[in-house]
């Protein structure tokens, strides 16, 4: 895919030109309540040009509300959002933004090509530019041979790819991807990863929400962990692990009887129990042997023991006390 400038399209004359010095996205103290529930609780975030930032968090953490706020579909109660220096509902922001929602927001009775043409027109593309954009998207999604297929007849993976293409048909500079791989098989997921890699090569900045740790690790330059409407940590994968665990490893131990005696012993050894599993941090793998001896001395019967290097899931578990897929 080529990456022409935004101004190359048939956009409204009032559309201000996006300057290179503007940050793709700046969010400051964003708050949004839905009745009694707090969806966003003062989120502050900045995206660098060409960067892929992963928003990692469980369902209900506030990721989608944040994405919808950036896309101009949710009005925040307080705080500010600037897309290349413009507010989300401005013409400039709309030109610069591409949104790939979690839902398959497509016209199911239209063909792939017709969907692309419709959303292309909605985004201001006309004539030859539109025709070229449609062909480019069909090629990008590898749906050229299915271009005349009615969307409802496509497989789940194909629909997901088309859903993505519709979001970037106007070649935005910043793309919001809200769990684009939900419900697709591993093969289609790999296909989608390749598509995203292609966008990154072209220099698009991306916000990518997911609750799949491996996706965040694979695709994102930086990761922000979102929980209860807040960003509780952010950095690269390595930084997050390092900051949370240092150089240490984790030991997971399960006991035959998880009673008060076990809880007392685990706490005494500096560990804690999450979901019935005792977790310890050790500086060196050799310390596992000492842990085993100590449990035997205390008369506690182990049924499972594992040692692993901390990953994003460990970070999330440690920071929130909850599994990532809760």
């Amino acid at each position: 895919m080529s990456s022409p400038t935004v101004a190359a399209y048939d956009l409204p004359l009032s559309a201000p030109t996006i300057t290179a010095c503007d940050s793709p996205l700046r969010i400051d103290s964003l708050v949004k309540h839905f009745g009694e529930a707090t969806a966003l609780d003062g989120i502050t975030l900045e995206l660098r040009s060409g960067e892929c930032l992963g928003l990692l968090g469980p369902n209900g953490a506030g990721k989608t509300t944040l994405i919808r706020s950036i896309a101009g579909r949710v009005k925040a109660d307080s705080g500010t959002i600037f897309v290349f220096g413009s507010p989300p509902n401005s013409v400039a922001a709309r030109n610069a933004l591409g949104w790939i929602p979690q839902e398959l927001a497509l016209y199911s009775g239209l063909t792939c090509r017709e969907n692309l043409q419709s959303f292309g027109r909605y985004n201001g593309l006309r004539g030859l530019v539109l025709a070229e954009a449609v062909e480019r998207c069909l090629e990008w999604t590898k749906l050229a041979d299915r271009s005349l297929e009615i969307v409802r007849n496509l497989s789940g993976g194909m629909k997901r790819r088309l859903n993505m293409a519709v979001g970037i048909i106007h070649q935005p500079k910043l793309v919001l991807m809200d769990e684009p791989t939900v419900g697709v098989d591993p093969q289609s997921r790999n296909h989608i990863f390749e598509m995203i890699a292609q966008l990154r090569e072209e220099g698009m900045s991306i916000i990518y929400t997911t609750h799949y740790m491996e996706e965040a690790e694979r695709l994102c330059d930086r990761i922000a962990i979102v929980d209860h409407g807040n960003i509780i940590a952010q950095g690269t994968h390595v930084e997050l692990v390092q900051r949370t665990f240092g150089p240490r490893s984790e030991v997971f131990a399960r006991f035959v009887r998880a009673d008060q005696r076990v809880e007392f012993w685990v706490a005494q050894r500096g560990g804690h129990i999450i979901d019935g599993t005792a977790q310890f941090k050790i500086d060196h793998p050799n310390e596992v042997a000492a842990l085993l001896d100590a449990s035997a001395m205390a008369g506690l019967e182990l049924c499972d023991l594992s040692l692993r290097k901390p990953n994003l899931e460990s970070v999330f578990l440690r920071l929130t006390g909850r599994e990532l897929r809760d």
């Binding site: 579909r73 979690q102 909605y122 979001g167």
Partner: protein, 405 residues
């Protein structure tokens, strides 16, 4: 197991307010409407408006007019309603004819000069007495028959009264009176002479085809456009609306786009209906194209706006289905799509004017039945366009809930 299935179905029904309304409120609403229209309540019995011209001015003709006025089924007008407080002159044969033509009343009765002058009652029917003229608009299938029948009764009564008065005038008149009574007995067997003339649609073979094309057409247009507008709810539910609104499309542009599409859809449906009427039932479409275009477009825009209004007020497709069925069937029955409004009581006829159906049908009737000029369609056009504007404005306001969360 059967109990479990019944329980699940009951719970689902109780949670679905739309289905509940459809199941229980709709039948009650329709029962009430039909009971009001045809239930025979004395205070709502329909009265036929009739224009009466008394050219004779005799005691007999005055008795006739009085008799017609006393008939409970008729609303007799001998002169147009006063304009700005000033009384209008009595109807003449010409103005009464014009009144029937323009739909002021479906029937006019012209009592000719000399009707009350009866030197020889036995030759009453064909000599000097003349015949009563009935000017009819047969688009109202009931009114001419009702007036004609009432006229027979009233005439007989008036004649009987007239002869009784003659008998009481003196002994010398006894013979004359006896002859009169004999003549009356002949009249009673044959009925009085009434000449019925169609003054509207005299060359039309199927007077009610255009009425049904418009009536049924509007009914289905309302269903079509409310169904098509339901796409808005579907798009909101599946996220397409969000995506569209995140592009350069504004909610106002979206609503206007939907209105345009639904209007086009409705207009094509009307065209199909009238072309079918022409091809199969001989409706005279081609000589009324300008009027059809005016009424077709305004009706289509009004029903399209109505559909958008319903869709914007409903949260789900199920709600829309229930609400639209309820409102459209109620509007169509009161507005004259199912049966002509002239069959309804006066109150219901007035209530019908609150519906799109009534104004559309009236407009199409003006075009196809009364052959009126396009300029005379202004009340219908004004009401339908005004309705569309108001409905669209309300729909736009209600659609604000989709603009932002």
């Amino acid at each position: 197991m059967i109990f479990a299935i019944v329980r699940t179905a009951t719970l689902a029904l109780l949670r679905d307010r739309g289905a509940l309304a459809l199941n229980f409120l709709l039948p009650l609403a329709f029962f009430s409407i039909f009971a009001l229209v045809f239930g025979g309540r004395h205070d709502v019995t329909p009265r036929v408006k009739v224009l009466v011209v008394d050219e004779d001015g005799s005691r007999f003709s005055q008795g006739l007019v009085h008799g017609l006025e006393q008939a409970g089924s008729l609303e007799v007008r001998t002169r147009p309603e006063s304009v700005n407080g000033s009384e209008q002159p009595d109807y003449t044969a010409a103005t009464a004819k014009a009144g029937v033509k323009n739909g002021t009343a479906p029937v006019a009765v012209i009592i000719p000069r000399g009707l009350g002058d009866r030197p020889d009652p036995s030759s009453a029917r064909d000599a000097h007495r003349g015949t009563i003229s009935l000017l009819e608009d047969v688009s109202d299938a009931v009114a001419p028959l009702m007036v004609s029948g009432t006229l027979q009764i009233v005439t007989m009564t008036a004649m009987l009264q007239d002869r009784t008065e003659q008998l009481s005038d003196g002994p010398g008149k006894v013979h004359q009176g006896t002859e009169s009574l004999r003549a009356m007995s002949g009249l009673a067997n044959e009925g009085i002479a009434i000449t019925a003339t169609r003054v509207v649609g005299e060359k039309k073979s199927s007077p009610l085809i255009s009425f049904y094309a418009a009536g049924i057409g509007v009914l289905f247009l309302l269903f079509t456009t409310s169904g098509a507008s339901g796409a808005l709810i579907e798009e909101a539910e599946n996220g397409t609306l969000d995506r569209v609104l995140s592009s350069h499309v504004t909610m106002t542009a979206l609503m206007l786009g939907k209105l345009t599409f639904n209007s086009m859809l409705a207009f094509v449906q009307l065209v199909l209906m009238f072309v079918w009427g022409w091809a199969v039932f001989g409706l005279d479409l081609w000589t009324h194209i300008p009027g059809f275009m005016v009424m077709g477009i305004t009706t289509a825009v009004a029903v399209a706006a109505f559909g958008l209004l319903l869709a914007s007020l409903c949260r789900t497709r199920a709600q829309l289905g229930a609400l639209s069925t309820l409102i459209i069937l109620a509007m169509s029955s009161v507005g004259g799509s199912m049966f002509p409004r002239y069959l309804m009581p006066a109150g219901m006829q007035k209530a019908g004017l609150l519906t799109i159906n009534a104004w559309a049908i009236d407009g199409f009737t003006k075009v196809f039945w009364r052959d009126e000029r396009i300029s005379q369609l202004w009340p219908q056009v004004l009401v339908l366009v005004g309705t569309a504007v108001v409905f669209l404005a309300i729909a736009r306001a209600a659609a604000r809930r989709w603009e932002f969360v």
